[in-house]
Point group: C2
Chain length 318, copies 2
């Protein structure tokens, strides 16, 4: 830092590496509210969004960059910036990601504006992808999502949606929440160790993080890989915070609740996927099936019933 | 693109490289105005800011990333986004920089918000720096700004400030301006080829780009290198657009006008610096002198007179 650019030295002695880069806005009024989220939660969530993108590809974080614009109302209160940086740097410290640079400005409006940039590394041609395809790298010809592959997710689903609903009902109740693993919305946990293990151990054919919710992110995976999916509703791991919801809201949270930042991945049926990876539970929640014309891209199985699962919705199949 | 991160392969066969990373906000109301700047100018300026940071370090651009949030008022008019991308991609094409990814969002306010991220490469330990110091790389022990080094700048100064003043006086006059090299404010020219030549030919001991104006950026260089500077006012290259200003405004534009994005660099007196590099004129504008207590960090020489030059100001020395 201190020059026009930050200088990064890529790790050596690990064979050819490629760079993974992701940028994510965290904008007040879109991604957080100052009256709902503590400054520490905003800092944590800002970095977690970027780290989760690296986790989805099995990458190791190399450095983070932050562009941050504060409006007069936030700049006047140094505690906000301190709290934000505390939250961001605590998470960065746990994953040993240096905050290597960025930009600061005064916001042109009354909203806080953050943009987080993460740079990571992965062995060349081996980064986990939504399609399973290796981007034409000859050393990885066999990896491809196939019908018959099994569908897995990490952790539990619906927790972030349930906590967000609780936050909406009582915004002040959560002001003192801490990143202790029990706040899936306020302090989500990027699954970096799981993603890295999936890559290192060659377990997954494709992977994505669930930032938008199962239905939306599974659709991305199906579209990228050209394969359809069936999901077993009774196999979906419900987060304890979502257990208090009524049944319809539970299903809504499981299928469409965003920001859980769990990983969704596929594995060949010949692969033995452990029940827990890097200390995180792993659940088999469905299977990949051939994509067929006039058949849904995603099917939800509930006992004998079949529903067409759509991003953010579902409907009973004839 | 299309995965959670973009995958970059770093150039091989060029020896050990390091990565240079820079992020720059381009926010409506701070960095541009929709009623003054065409969409193409905003796109060009957004990318030029990042490219100029790479130029200052002698780096080659590897990829650009863009986070862009449009308010409803701009999203409603697809011509704005088209014009913005046309401007950005025309400049990217000229320098062969792929736009490799980024993020989009709806702006939480009525302002357009852009954050540009540039990643470049330079031979390990050889990137040009403000301090001249090589960051502890043993292969480059001799490079350090020294008293006696000469001070140079590229191109001409004050053009961007003069064009901005003209824009303020008649905002609609410039709606059809094109990136033809004659619009230093609307379509600034990042000096990538010059920076790369300075690095490759070992000409410079330190370098910075003039985004904030000569007085501010020279202060950064002096502070980073621990050396003071003397600037000869009559050697400063005045941009033709600034020639129409009155004498006081001319001096103001030369010394403090920002956003010219010319390079400011130092070279040892034993080095023969060409009068033009990569087709861009190079001017010797002063010299580095020992930093002394109670003596100005920057001195402006006008004939027999000496002034203390301060960031954004100057005053007569006793």
């Amino acid at each position: 830092m201190g020059d026009d650019c930050a200088i990064l030295r890529t790790p050596s002695g690990q064979g050819a590496q490629e760079l993974l880069v992701t940028t994510d806005f965290c904008l007040e009024g879109r991604h957080f509210r100052r009256d709902w989220h503590s400054a520490a939660s905003v800092g944590h969530r800002t970095l977690a969004r970027g780290l989760s993108d690296l986790a989805a590809m099995g990458a190791k974080p190399l450095a983070a960059f932050l562009s941050l614009a504060l409006p007069h109302s936030a700049a006047r209160d140094p505690r906000w910036l301190d709290g934000f940086l505390d939250g961001l740097l605590a998470l960065a410290g746990r994953f040993q990601v240096p905050l290597a640079g960025g930009d600061t400005s005064e916001s042109p409006c009354d909203q806080i504006l953050a943009d987080i940039i993460l740079i990571g590394t992965a062995p060349a041609g081996r980064a986990l992808r939504r399609s399973g395809a290796s981007g034409g790298v000859p050393s990885r010809p066999g990896v491809q999502v196939q019908p018959g592959d099994r569908l897995y997710c990490t952790g539990a689903l619906g927790g972030a949606a349930a906590e967000l609903a609780a936050l909406e009902a009582a915004p002040t109740r959560f002001r003192r929440a801490q990143p202790d693993g029990s706040h899936p919305h306020l302090f989500p946990e990027p699954r970096l160790a799981v993603g890295q293990a999936l890559l290192r151990r060659g377990l997954a054919t494709a992977c994505i993080d669930m930032s938008d919710g199962l239905s939306t992110d599974l659709a991305h995976l199906c579209t990228a890989s050209g394969v359809a999916a069936e999901v077993d509703l009774d196999q979906l791991p419900l987060h304890p915070l979502a257990a208090a919801l009524d049944q319809r809201a539970q299903i809504q949270a499981l299928l469409h609740g965003g920001e859980d930042y769990e990983l969704l991945f596929t594995a060949a049926p010949s692969i033995k996927v452990p029940r827990s990876i890097a200390g995180v539970p792993v659940h088999r929640i469905g299977r990949m099936v051939p994509a067929r014309k006039n058949r849904p891209q995603m099917t939800l199985c509930m006992g004998e019933d079949r529903f067409e699962l759509q991003p953010h919705g579902w409907e009973h199949l004839r």
